[in-house]
Symmetry: C2
Amino acid sequence: MELREALYTTRAMRRVSDKPIPKDVQARILDAAVRAPSGGNAQNWRFLLVDDPAVKAQLGPIYRDCMDILWSSYYAERIAEAEADAESEDSKQFFRVKKSAQHLADHFEGYPLLLFAFSQHDPSGGSIYPAVWNAMLAARGEGVGSALTSAMLFKINDVLPVLGVPEGEGWHMSACVTFGYPTGKWGVAARTPVEDVSFQNHWGQPLDFKVDGPLFP
Amino acid sequence: MELREALYTTRAMRRVSDKPIPKDVQARILDAAVRAPSGGNAQNWRFLLVDDPAVKAQLGPIYRDCMDILWSSYYAERIAEAEADAESEDSKQFFRVKKSAQHLADHFEGYPLLLFAFSQHDPSGGSIYPAVWNAMLAARGEGVGSALTSAMLFKINDVLPVLGVPEGEGWHMSACVTFGYPTGKWGVAARTPVEDVSFQNHWGQPLDFKVDGPLFP
């Protein structure tokens, strides 16, 4: 696959089939992950693949609890706003994202493969998220969809024992990624244009060039 | 460029020429950055490009101070260890990384383009580092090298006023990326093998498949 196609079409793919991910595909996903940079090239990371239904069965209810917490805390105000103005494009878009995120929770045990990424001594996330994103891009190149979620952090003390993560070694769970073959189509996600989120040389100063994106295809 | 070539050969490129990065290339780099995912698709990010020599001249000395702090604090013990065992492969590798990082500091004003990435409400980094890494991968596709550094956080209170970042809005500087056309060659970086950093279904349980990486070319 061409690089730009991957960069533009690797969007959250939460509607997937239960078709297993072949081992050679999993190997290419993980091997791409470890090519990412990390501070001082320390590679203080661990990657835990989960495909055992018994483990997923323990994690599913925890994840749904986490999503309940997410909606009723962090997103409570946003949900109230969107409900008060349900016909606006913004609200409709928000409810689409919310529905898709809830779909992931409701079908958690159905994803054929999960990846948990852990890091040590990485308060910024800069030494683990490039690796996580490499895994997701590599998956895209294999036709495998993925979605990243950090919501499990709400009940991390319930999650870590299920995965057997040792205590006292400083391992921080950064993300959970679900993988699966999409039931829908790949496409370029809409985004706020570059001009609206970019500056040149000083905060607030517009770019001195135009970006008529999306610049793919 | 093929996706896997980009994933495997986008390594820290700190030795670059002062040849400017064309505006259409900068546009493709930024437009790829905003395609990344963010929590709730909130896109709470800002990208600040710096190519003004006057701004770089203010930042260079601050960055070198930050690197002095980094070596004398976070890395002090590691440096002492490496000096005590200077002939080991580990120590040699460490000093190569250190020399390369110091090269970046010593030549900071010479990089033709800098990118500062900011995020709001993103304690994990999961909503900004995929975008930063997309920018670096897109640059690779254009033949432009890049290197990511967070060391400026040591003197962030000196950096933010230079860039004009507003106070009280919760903008967090996540990373600085240097860009430039490499004077050396692209290659696949050595990494700890996947088997040594990956588990299956439970922490400590080996993968149930082999990864004879690097799986590129």
